[in-house]
Symmetry: C2
Subunit: 324 residues, 2 copies
């Protein structure tokens, strides 16, 4: 396997993106206190994290703002309220879901917005719509990345075609997304090699967004890094849908760039993440997430299983097998 970098030096191409508000928002319907958001913003600055994702720019035609906290919608002015003119090294991003974002109206020009990076999230069959959004965001002045979700359900041939289409678009970064936490490190290696090969051809960088269903989110992230992937998503204490994500704590402890600082992340985790758990919000490894992962399924049924306080894992396995 071709590898890039080693365990002692650091790679200047690496970008760490904190997705705590966005993927974590799927746990609590984006109902974070302003104190949480401000402290997270300050934490990311102190820790020299490269990008902080505030949430989604979801369409208010499709989602009722009363049903969610405000980071589901990421109004530019709400972000400005937290970050002022953000005169820092931390860049801000938000996510645009294909088909669920009124991007023509809600994405302003970059010069009027707090964001530097727009992240388009697409399923494989929506790629032409994704490209429309990518082109729009590029025209408005943003860096743009694209997440192809649920690739573990996509056949290899289709994936190659989708990647080629995206690589020919003006997108800057293409993300490997293990939505179901289904991949083992050796599969991530193969996937990373595929993405990097196509990315190199068209001058695109590659990123990874991992899920922790099998306690492999961190392992898969550093495996991808070793293969040459540059953009690394993480969340504090792994907060994210279902089994959650790659822990920021583990990732920053691993990366050797002296600018990254683990201490503010640990302080934030001790103050805020333990409190969220105490309030009853649930995420992180559970056997039920392992089961949806090995069956390469969406974690929604496992999320319900955990929420209902169930522990009858073998019944749950039978239910999953019946559905498949």
């Amino acid at each position: 396997m071709a590898t890039r970098g080693d365990l002692i030096s650091f790679r200047p191409d690496v970008r760490v993106l904190d997705a705590t508000l966005r993927d974590g928002g799927l746990v609590n319907n984006f109902r974070f206190s302003d104190e949480f958001v401000r402290d997270l913003y300050k934490m990311n600055i102190k820790a020299s994290v490269d990008y902080m994702e505030f949430g989604y720019k979801a369409s208010k035609q499709i989602f009722d703002p009363n049903d969610f906290g405000r980071w589901k919608f990421c109004n530019d002015d709400d972000v400005f309220e937290i970050v002022g003119d953000n005169d820092t090294g931390l860049k801000l991003s938000c996510m645009l879901d294909v088909g669920r974002t009124d991007f023509k109206n809600d994405v302003r020009n970059k010069s009027d917005s707090p964001f530097e990076l727009m992240r388009v999230a697409t399923y494989i069959h929506q790629i032409p719509s994704a490209i429309e959004m990518i082109e729009d965001a590029k025209k408005k002045g943003y860096e743009v990345s694209v997440n192809i979700m649920a690739v573990s359900k996509v056949n290899d041939d289709e994936l190659t075609k989708g990647l080629e289409l995206l690589a020919k678009s003006p997108v800057d970064i293409i993300y490997i997304v293990d939505s179901f936490g289904a991949y083992y490190p050796e599969q991530i290696e193969r996937l990373a090699q595929k993405y990097i090969e196509i990315g190199n051809k068209y001058g695109k960088q590659i990123g990874i967004h991992a899920h922790n269903n099998q306690q492999l989110a961190f392992a898969n992230t550093i495996t991808a890094l070793r293969c040459g992937v540059s953009w690394l998503d993480c969340t504090v204490s792994g907060m994210g849908r279902g089994a959650g994500n790659c822990y920021s704590e583990s990732l920053l402890a691993f990366l050797k760039n002296p600018k990254y600082d683990l201490v503010p992340v640990m302080d934030f985790a001790a103050k805020h993440m333990l409190a969220l758990k105490d309030e009853g919000y649930k995420w992180g490894y559970d056997i039920s997430y392992l089961l949806t992962a090995i069956l390469n399924s969406h974690p929604s049924s496992a999320i319900k299983f955990v929420k209902d306080g169930r522990t009858d894992y073998s019944n749950f396995l039978h239910e999953l097998m019946d559905v498949e």
Copy 2:
């Protein structure tokens, strides 16, 4: 990297060893109820686990039996009480710590004992004593394995010499042991290659015993497997000292040999492991274990940190840095 096997077929050389009582006993001073031990034994039979480790054969001259549950000492008769004549496919093992085992008196001949496998645990500087124990156990009729503990603290040259010494002994299996949970998968690859190279020369099999300080126990175990390591330690729900071990659930879900059955393991976990957690026994990932791992230190200070209910991780990091 040379790899062995793939993700679809299975390797007949693989042996799964359940170390729940032994490594988990370090969490609760081996005070497992008889029901727990009987159910675990039945679980391992149903799940077709290859070996079950009952605990240590610790010297009663050194340790007071009143301070521990009986699996610290693993009297043959106590094991017979649980397993009868063990007329099953499950083989039994126990661990012999160099310098803390009265092996001449406490290890009977295999024909009089419930055990098939004796596992010698040694530090690098104790290898000559380990070899004495290995020879004794072989003479008494056992399969014998050896764990070289804390190898992340051993320099490479010394490790080569130690491995050569052990490989020339009558031991059957040599284990890679990541006592501090300090290794990343790419280091496990290099270590596995080293152990396998020496093992192949002398006809020894290689095993791995991983710790979960960085949530890498499962990733490191399947990485080693892919490199050709055959003996895989795991514990139910990862129960083990500090951050714990590779989860049996994850490992059995991964292995493709149709004989392995995840269902009894999930049922056991739901019945017993959640109850142990409810009783207040603590193991599993915590930032403090991540910190001892990245500093390549024994987890004892982190175990105390967690036991004391502390969450001031940055103070703890400073304490660790002062000691190093």
